[in-house]
């Protein structure tokens, strides 16, 4: 299988502050990858580079063989941590907007999911609760038949019931053969779904392995995470 993500000697700095330093890794398609690391580890910068939001970096980044740009953006379905929809849009407007730009967007499925999620079609985004906005954004991403899904903290700041709902929606609607790169702090809740782990800390790649290899020793990913990053909290 070809490499869906290929990163070579990636470095990124903001002035004198180095956020990513000579990071290299590859992933084959068809996996669920956990992007793990504490706050300020460089996860968000890496995601922004992969999604084409940051373009001034050194090194090489390829998404399914394409540099971040128009083609790669049409292959990637990105769920940012923030609410990115325009406040004037209603749910139907948001669906139509995404359908206009992505040929792989399944509008019929989106309309159906809106009913399943009990999202009023004509309610404006600005009047929706945070939970409704998150549902809508998740729906917009998961109704695409994308090659790569990049989900930035999809379960951040939601209650356990909502976490299960989000996770189920992601797994149920993920097209066969697609890849998911998911950043999260809630390792315990999701570690069983990961095929591979990418651990980033202090701007460097600390671990890249399959879950099968990591858990051979009987340790969980959560245990490994604590081992790797506990040094940051021990003074």
């Amino acid at each position: 299988m070809s490499q869906i993500i290929s990163v070579r000697n990636l470095s990124k700095s903001y002035g004198k502050h180095q956020v990513l330093s000579d990071v290299s890794f590859d992933f084959e398609g068809g996996q669920i990858i956990g992007l793990l690391g504490p706050n300020g580890s460089g996860k968000t910068s890496l995601i922004k580079i992969l999604t084409g939001l940051i373009n001034d970096y050194s090194g090489e980044v390829l998404i399914d063989g394409n540099k971040p740009g128009k083609v790669s953006k049409s292959l990637v379905a990105f769920l940012p941590e923030k609410t990115y929809l325009a406040s004037w849009m209603n749910a139907d407007d948001a669906v139509n907007y995404i359908a206009d730009f992505y040929d792989d967007f399944d509008k019929v499925k989106a309309m159906h999911m809106m009913d399943v999620f009990q999202l009023p079609h004509k309610q404006k985004v600005k009047t929706m609760s945070k939970g409704m906005q998150e549902k809508l954004q998740l729906l917009l991403v998961m109704c695409r038949n994308a090659k790569l899904y990049i989900l930035d903290e999809p379960m951040g700041g939601v209650d356990p019931a909502a976490r299960d709902f989000i996770l189920e929606t992601i797994l149920k609607n993920r097209p066969e053969g697609s890849t998911i790169l998911m950043s999260t702090h809630l390792i315990q809740d999701v570690e069983e779904i990961f095929d591979s782990i990418l651990m980033i800390g202090r701007g460097s790649l600390l671990m890249k392995d399959t879950v099968a290899n990591i858990t051979k020793s009987g340790k969980t990913i959560n245990d490994i995470f604590k081992e790797v990053f506990s040094v940051d909290w021990n003074f």
Binding site: L53, G69, K70, K73, F101
Partner: protein
């Protein structure tokens, strides 16, 4: 699954969605203007009718007068509302969290910027056209009512006083020149505004983005003026209205056409502004692509 998409098709989608985003507010003012013109027209019909009683005619005249004033006010407000949208939507759709959506669309930053310039440029020009039309039409109408004389005949009398100079061709050329200059200056204004907002969102400036954008705006505007003055000093391309009713173009010094009792319009500043607009477009797009940092 489709990996690639037609760039032109996506650009049309950008135009469509930028238009829809702006039309939901701006169009309300046009609807108000159309309604006011409708009221004005109906009241005019009532006022001009012989078969309707005087009381109704007086009421219709009052309503018509109010509609004239309101039409001018609404068309004037339209310019400000449109300008507010030109700035607000550019900021909101690109540099607020909405930017996470805009900048991950399968389009280039040139297309993102181009779409906004076309859509908002169109709205701005339309708002000026609506204001000019409303003002000229209704003021001319009022003048007819009050003075009892057609404005056009007044202009004709003034032109007669000037003799045969300028000719109709020269007047038309002058009007075309004014419209084009207005368009170029307006374009420059928008390009400077967009450039300022974009620059103020690079990482080093975004903590003080409002102040930064204001400072960058004034500095860039001054640079625009300085460059246009310098270019005019070097090559002063002028459209000259000759006394023999003809038009000519040439590179003249300021004294040449003033001392020579000629009327001339400088063309170089327009060209300078146009060149600078193109440079600004690509500079803004480059900064947007390479330097902007979304929070």
């Amino acid at each position: 699954m489709t990996g690639t998409s037609k760039p032109k098709g996506k650009f049309l989608m950008l135009l469509k969605n930028d238009f829809l985003a702006s039309a939901r507010v701006i169009s309300l003012f046009y609807i108000a203007l159309i309604i006011l013109f409708g009221i004005f027209g109906i009241c005019n019909l009532i006022g001009g009718s012989d078969s309707i009683n005087m009381e109704l005619i007086e009421k219709a005249t009052s309503v018509r007068n109010v509609s004239i004033v309101l039409s001018i006010v609404v068309s004037f407000l339209l310019i400000f509302v449109t300008f507010f949208f030109v700035v607000y939507d550019f900021f909101k759709s690109l540099f607020s969290p909405q930017g996470y959506l805009s900048f991950t669309l399968p389009v280039s930053s040139n297309q993102l910027l181009g779409s906004k310039v076309i859509v908002y440029g169109g709205w701005m020009l339309l708002s000026y056209a609506a204001f000019m039309f409303t003002s000229v039409y209704l003021m001319n109408y009022t003048a007819n009512e009050v003075v009892g004389r057609d404005k056009i005949s007044l202009i004709e009398s003034l032109l007669t006083m000037l003799g045969d100079f300028p000719s109709t061709t020269q007047i038309v050329a002058y009007l075309v020149y004014m419209v084009l200059m207005f368009f170029v200056i307006f374009l420059s204004f928008v390009s400077i505004v967009y450039f300022s907002i974009t620059v103020s969102h690079i990482r080093q400036l975004q903590k003080h983005s409002v102040i930064a954008s204001i400072i960058v705006f004034f500095i860039t505007a001054l640079v625009f003026l300085w460059i246009s003055f310098k270019m005019t000093d070097i090559v002063n391309f002028v459209m000259v209205f000759n006394e023999d009713k003809t038009l000519s173009f040439g590179i003249l010094s300021e004294n040449e056409y003033l001392v020579g009792n000629k009327l001339g319009m400088e063309v170089t500043p327009g060209f300078a502004f146009l060149i600078l607009d193109v440079i600004m477009f690509f500079a803004t797009s480059h900064i947007m692509h390479k330097k902007v940092n979304l929070k």
